[in-house]
Amino acid sequence: MRGSALGGRRPSGGPLDGRVPGGPGRPRSGLLRSRVLRVAAALGGAVFVLWAAATLTFFGLRLIPGDPAQAVLGGPGSQASAEALAAVRSEYGFDQPIWMQYLRYLGRLVTGDLGSSYSQRQSVASIIGSQIGGTLLLAVLALTVAWLLALGLAVWSTRGGRLAAAVGSGLEIVAAAVPHFWLATVLVLVFSTTLRWFPAVSTDGPAGLVLPVLTLALPLAGFLGQVMRESVLDALEAPFVLSARARGESEAGVRWRHVLRHGALPGIALSGWAFGWLISGAVVVETIFARPGLGRTLLNAVQLRDVPLVIGVVLVVAVGYVVMTLLTDVVSRIADPRLAASRPSRSSRPSSSRPASAEGVRA
């Protein structure tokens, strides 16, 4: 009994029954209004996230023992005089109650002023400005490479054949289990120290980027690959693939024209998450490969108790995450009209093909 028991002869509801909000028949003005509302809600949410991230960091860093004035005066172990400390305290307002400091900080933040770094005697904005490029380059390249690797492996290893499938999913699981710091050292040992193909110290030149990008991309590809493989397998079993084959489409055509897109969908949906993951990874990778970047800045700033710099980096990362999430949302909706169609409301209806949304869990 295939089909009849579970799916039903007459599947109803879900994306299948042709009732598409925003489709023909829906008034345009309502559509526009809902779109405006959605954008407004997204922006409001983003602002909230930024505020909360800044607030959390601000108070979180206050929990750390140690005198912020000291961080200003040459950092740990400084032998700054009492006068110097007092001067700094009043200059930076450390002598005021914490909530006053918080409000002051927030006030400046609203005007776009991130303050100036305690340890680097430079405006936080300019430090971030000089560091962000490298990290973004790294993150974007790693994401792209991870994507291509994952998709390539998913598509290749689902060609049929148990061996390919086993190798494919095995590689993915192992890749996802590899700690990137270990991977980095192994890659350096093999490709830099032994083979001397790529430099151990990363530069923005193509050769210098290979190892750090691989370090970040391989584990990520493992995660993405696991999801993409399922999506590819789903697509391969989907009736539309049968339909395409019945049309005379070749195996390559099926993969290229149909399966690939479906495999890519969860990759798109996960890019926001992947971005956060990459930033965490950048902390380690930038240290090992001696690359300038936000990750290393963050690690140093935390260790030096450089509060403005930490908050600055956190904010930038949060903005990046928010932008990335909005972007993936938009791209996902463009790539997959089913997402736009599926109502976020409750649905007790069974549906035989659910879009790869990041929300739907059936365990």
Binding site: P65, G66, D67, Q70, A71, V72, L73, G74, G75, P76, G77, S78, Q79, A80, S81, A82, E83, A84, L85, A87, S119, Q120, R121, Q122, I127, S130, Q131, T185, V188, S192, T193, R196, P199, A200, V201, T287, I288, F289, A290, P292, G293, R296, T297, Q303, L304, R305
Partner: protein, 521 residues
């Protein structure tokens, strides 16, 4: 290694140097004052004096320094005709401006301000004579002035304000700061008008190198890999196994070694608090902490065990090998004697139900990995007699915080200073009292009036014999009281590839000196 056949120096080329000391937050060593600043600054900013291999003071920007009979003032005569790279003359006015800059609380100097603690002002006697007026005699003044942290900077440059001066301080040296890409590199370019080579330089006149690219590679393995692959020409802070690899035949690399002046690498036992407030316990610990086999294996024979608190490159060091003999039976006996008689289920000694715990905060920033491994071995060997040494690796801020609040029993701290006066800084009871920031150099909590007197007197006299006697006395007191466990010299190890020629260490602080360096193709 590099060929020993003397080659003719060639001008031009770039040398890439990768440091593991970290990136300065400000290139002006007056501000704060730490090793990273001194390293990158020495080839740009020059000092009034320098030192030779024996530690003797030799002139540099100054021709001479003469103390008044009462020791309360020093007349420093400057070399004529030297100018900063911005054209400002390097004269007595400049010296005065520099000292005032270092002593200004706004500058937030920590190293220079300590060194100038006894200097109350500088008088301009003539354009070439600056008079340092002191509040009390200071035999270490010229040594202090030889340090890069007290280097001379263009007064015009200082006036630009801290932010600008931090970016590119202006000196008289063979190179100038031309670019600083944060977290990546600092570029030094040649000063074609340079005339002030230090004593011991092999040539006069401009340096050979066009540029030095000064990079920051914190990870030691990466740093060495970069040296091996030729991405960089020279690195510092080499790991012991890398030193072995680099000195091996056919490696294409060589290593330049020098002992950093000041205190040796040592463990300080916090005698201010239990359990090390009991001399018996301190002695037991030192009798049990077997470090020699570890130093051998962890450092592959690249360092030697030291029995002196002072570095071998610092004059007046005294060795008391017998005080550090390993004897587990003696250690056990001492502990019994001290009342730590029972042992708990894990074999640690207890007294009144309390375990014999020794808190050991370790700065992952100051202690290299091999050192941390050595500490682990100390932990293991002292465990045999019942010590529970707890290692706490910490970042620099937390470590200073732990030290500042005396929240430790054992620690290892670096102190680099080109003078035996380091003994006063580290062990004078006055330095138990923390600075406003909480920093106190006397981590062992040593409070011995005799020792205080000895180091103070030694700091005031200029008679070498008298100084030697006083410093030996101080060191003997430290050894007898088991306040410190000296381990080995703090070595500066510069690895470099064979295209680098004429590299040397400036003896003052054992900092690589590039005035004579060239690269062959």
């Amino acid at each position: 290694g590099p060929s020993d056949t003397p080659a003719t120096p060639v001008a031009g080329g770039t040398l890439t140097y990768a440091t593991g000391f970290g990136e300065p937050t400000c290139l002006d060593p007056h501000v704060g004052g730490n090793m990273p600043q001194a390293l990158v600054g020495t080839n740009v900013l020059e000092s009034l004096f320098s030192q030779d291999e024996t530690g003797a003071i030799v002139p540099w920007l100054a021709e001479s320094g003469v103390a008044a009979d009462d020791g309360l003032s020093w007349d420093v005569t400057l070399r004529d005709g030297i100018a900063f790279t911005d054209g400002t003359p390097m004269d007595a006015e400049a010296v005065k401006a520099n000292v005032e800059h270092m002593k200004d609380p706004e500058t937030a100097s920590s190293t220079a301000i300590l060194a100038l603690g006894k200097v109350s002002s500088v008088d301009v006697v003539s354009p070439t004579v600056a008079r340092f007026v002191l509040s009390e005699p200071d035999s270490a003044l010229l040594e202090s002035l030889a340090q890069t942290w007290l280097a001379m900077e263009s007064p015009a440059g200082l006036e630009r304000g801290m932010e600008a001066n931090c970016e590119a301080p202006i000196g008289t040296g063979p190179f100038v700061f031309s670019e600083w890409v944060k977290q990546d590199h600092v570029t030094l370019t040649r000063n074609d008008d340079w005339t002030s080579a230090p004593a011991g330089a092999t040539h006069e006149g401009p340096a050979y190198l066009d540029t030095i690219e000064w990079r920051f590679i914190p990870d030691p393995a990466t740093r060495f890999a970069a040296l091996q692959s030729g991405e960089v020409d020279a690195i510092d802070e080499m790991q012991p196994d890398n030193v072995v690899a680099a000195t091996a035949d056919g490696s294409g690399l060589d290593v330049l070694t020098g002992a950093l002046p000041g205190a040796s690498i040592r463990l300080e036992l916090n005698s201010g608090y239990a359990p090390f407030d009991d001399e018996l316990v301190r002695k037991a610990f030192i009798a049990a902490a077997d470090v020699n086999p570890g130093i051998q294996s962890l450092f592959f024979g690249t360092v030697e065990r030291s029995y002196s608190v002072l570095s071998s490159s610092t004059p007046f060091g005294a060795s008391f090998e017998d005080d550090y003999a390993i004897d587990a039976d003696k250690a056990n006996q001492l502990l019994d004697e001290a009342g730590w008689m029972s042992r708990d289920s894990e074999g640690y000694r207890t007294k009144d139900g309390e375990r014999l715990t020794v808190d050991f905060p370790v700065s992952t920033n100051q202690s290299i990995p091999a050192e941390v491994s050595l500490f682990e071995q100390i932990q293991a060997t002292t465990k045999a007699v019942g010590f529970d040494v707890e290692l706490h690796p910490m970042d620099l801020s937390s470590w200073y915080a732990a030290l500042g609040s005396w929240d430790f029993d054992l620690t290892s701290a670096i102190y680099t200073k080109n003078s035996p006066d380091v003994l006063r800084i580290l062990y004078d009871s006055e330095n138990i009292i923390p600075a406003p920031s909480g920093y106190h150099p006397n981590n062992a909590h040593v409070s011995i009036p005799e020792l205080d007197d000895a180091v103070t007197a030694a700091g005031q006299t200029t008679d070498p014999d008298e100084r030697a006697a006083l410093y030996e006395k101080a060191q003997e007191l430290l050894a007898d009281g088991a306040y410190v466990l000296p381990l080995y010299d703090h070595l500066q190890k510069i690895g470099y590839g064979d295209r680098v020629q004429g590299l040397s260490l400036l003896p003052t602080l054992q900092i690589p000196y590039f005035g004579d360096t060239w690269v062959s193709e």
